[in-house]
């Protein structure tokens, strides 16, 4: 009788531990921003969401414009988070702070991009949407700047451009027609209060179980 009860206690402890650690694991996964997720990014200082559309800049590079919008229900504010070209990021894996990524605009298939052109309203660096079907060039890559290990959904983070080293920012300038009410998004050289961003609405992909055995992929993180 005595042995049985202590064995039962041990078993219960084991079950509890297994469940607890499994539960813990699940919680961390839901907190992180993962590869393949489709998200809206909001500038925390000005409360506008990163946005693009089939409207080209009238100056600078003449490429597709990227702006900030105030409303929360615009389908043109969705961006898919992907790895660098030729360095695919496995679906559902949490993105590390410092990791290089690309943002592909859902509706138009162009990537968030910046280059040495001046932005139309504030003379900072122009940010555009570039490429076709998710493929552009090396100037599509940004790194996530955050504290800690992974980019968490509750974090305000910065996006630093790989290539020109500017930070994705909004400072308050607004456009007139044909995109009245939309704000200018540009690149700034220094980190400050205008370049904090947070994920808002979206579809956040969770890591899946490996089907049966190790996938033959490389996972570059």
């Amino acid at each position: 009788m005595k042995m049985e009860s202590s064995y039962a206690v041990l078993l219960k402890l084991l079950v509890f531990f297994v469940l607890w650690s499994h539960f813990e694991g699940r919680e961390t996964e839901y907190k992180d921003v993962t590869c393949g997720s489709l998200v809206k990014l909001m500038n925390t200082r000005h409360s506008v969401r990163l946005h693009s559309h089939d409207v080209k800049y009238g100056s600078g590079s003449g490429q597709q414009s990227v702006t900030g919008v105030e409303n929360a229900d615009d389908g043109n504010s969705y961006w898919q988070i992907r790895g660098k070209a030729n360095h695919p990021c496995q679906r559902g894996t949490a993105i590390k702070c410092g990791q290089p990524i690309r943002f592909t605009h859902m509706k138009t298939g162009r990537n968030l991009h910046t280059h040495h052109f001046s932005s139309p309203l504030s003379n900072n660096q122009e940010v555009s949407a570039f490429g076709e079907n998710g493929e552009g060039d090396d100037l599509d890559v940004w790194t996530v700047q955050c504290d800690g290990v992974h980019w968490e959904r509750n974090d305000a983070v910065r996006f630093k451009h790989v290539g020109t080293n500017v930070f994705l920012s909004v400072t308050g300038e607004q456009y007139g027609p044909p995109i009245r009410g939309q704000w200018e998004v540009h690149g700034m050289t220094s980190p400050n209060q205008h370049n904090w961003w947070q994920v808002m609405e979206g579809v956040f992909i969770q890591p899946s179980q490996d089907p049966l055995h190790q996938s033959a992929h490389h996972t570059e993180l």
Binding site: D73, G75, Q80, V203, Q206, S208, L212, S215, A216
Partner: protein
């Protein structure tokens, strides 16, 4: 006397059986059609398939449809939760604590989206006058391993939802023509914006988990829609969320329809004398290959049934086609080796010249 005893005995047995049957509750494994050792993925897959079949909208002639559907929801709710499943396995349905029960609607919509499921008809056939929010399309990358074995992807959908707010707002604004009289016999027509008054709404962000199934044999560009999970429209219905499958390239296998292609490089010795090897398939099982004849470069071997499952009937599989190429020795041979080879192979000089590009 004996028969009376026997009768009493059998009645008692029957009573006991009825009592245990009642108290044992439903057999959730049987309802879902899975074994007791089924994985969570098997359970999700079984639920999704049966939910489509048993939905009451689809079985309007069956008076028991609602019950069967409710049983299915209860079975999934218990067996998909680790803790509840443990309790159920140990104590049966009644052993489950009276915890929070998610409504079957919640479970169903996490697999298919809101607004139920439009059976047969297209969503566009609904009243076109109701404005709809934008659709969201997510390109979902899947590996060939997932196409072979199937998988489930959990996603968290965070979206703005219209909630009641105090006050009124203007809605359904539309231009209308107004006629005003300027004087006797003189009228003017002007255009005016006319709005209705609606209860005020505000948008609040809410989250829910959705289950996307990667079905076996799924093809590139196939879409899985979740009704109503797209962008909201303040005056109408939300759009849909669609997952578009993108099958990734694989380092070992190339897909053509349901067939898989792969290449194997063998040594010159193996090509001449034969060899035996295993190819590890997408799910880890080994495909055994034995050759005891000469294998020419470019030779192909067909392994029926070793391809991908067909999406419409997973019992049918394509083939695995293996193409062999031969690696010739890299080092040069000395005169002794060359003579050895001449003697061994006893193959005279051929040196036939022909047009290889025109099939001569």
């Amino acid at each position: 006397m004996a028969t009376k005893g026997m009768k009493l005995y059998s009645v008692c047995c029957l009573l006991l059986w009825v009592i245990t049957a009642v108290f044992a509750g439903r057999d959730f494994y049987k309802i879902l059609g899975v074994s007791k050792s089924a994985s969570i993925r098997d359970i999700k897959k079984a639920y999704r398939k049966l939910a489509l079949q048993l939905h009451p909208d689809r079985n309007q002639d069956d008076p028991k449809a609602q019950d069967k559907f409710a049983d299915l929801g209860a079975a999934y709710e218990v067996l998909s939760d680790e803790e509840k499943r443990k309790q159920y396995d140990a104590y049966g349905e009644d052993g489950l604590k009276e915890g929070h029960h998610s409504s079957h609607n919640d479970i169903f919509s996490s697999f298919f989206g809101d607004f139920g499921f439009m059976f047969g008809g297209n969503r566009q056939q609904q009243d076109r006058n109701i404005p709809r929010g934008n659709d969201i399309v997510l390109d979902l990358e899947v590996t060939l391993e997932e196409v072979y074995a199937g998988n489930f992807v959990e996603v968290v959908r965070n979206k703005p939802v219209a909630k009641e707010a105090p006050g009124k707002r203007k809605c359904n604004c539309r231009p209308e023509m107004r006629t005003t009289q300027l004087g006797p016999g003189r009228f003017q027509m002007t255009q005016e914006m006319v709005c209705d008054e609606c209860p005020n709404v505000k948008l609040v962000n809410e989250e829910r988990t959705l289950e996307v199934e990667i079905e076996q044999g799924v093809r590139d560009e196939m879409e899985y829609p979740f009704i109503g999970e797209g962008e909201p429209h303040i005056d109408g219905e939300p759009g849909d969320l669609r997952f578009r499958i993108k099958v990734l390239k694989h380092r070992v296998f190339e897909r053509r329809g349901d067939d898989l292609y792969t290449n194997v490089t063998i040594s010159l010795v193996e090509a001449l004398v034969g060899f035996e090897m295993d190819i590890i398939h997408l799910d880890g099982h080994k495909v055994h290959i034995v050759r005891d004849k000469v294998t020419k470069p470019g030779a192909r071997m067909w392994k029926k049934g070793e391809g991908l499952p067909n999406f419409d009937n997973i019992n049918i599989r394509g083939s695995l086609i293996i193409t062999f190429d031969v690696e010739f020795p890299q080092t040069q041979m000395d005169e002794k080796q060359k003579n050895g080879i001449r003697n061994l192979l006893k193959q005279g000089s051929i040196q036939k010249v022909y047009n290889g590009l025109q099939g001569y």
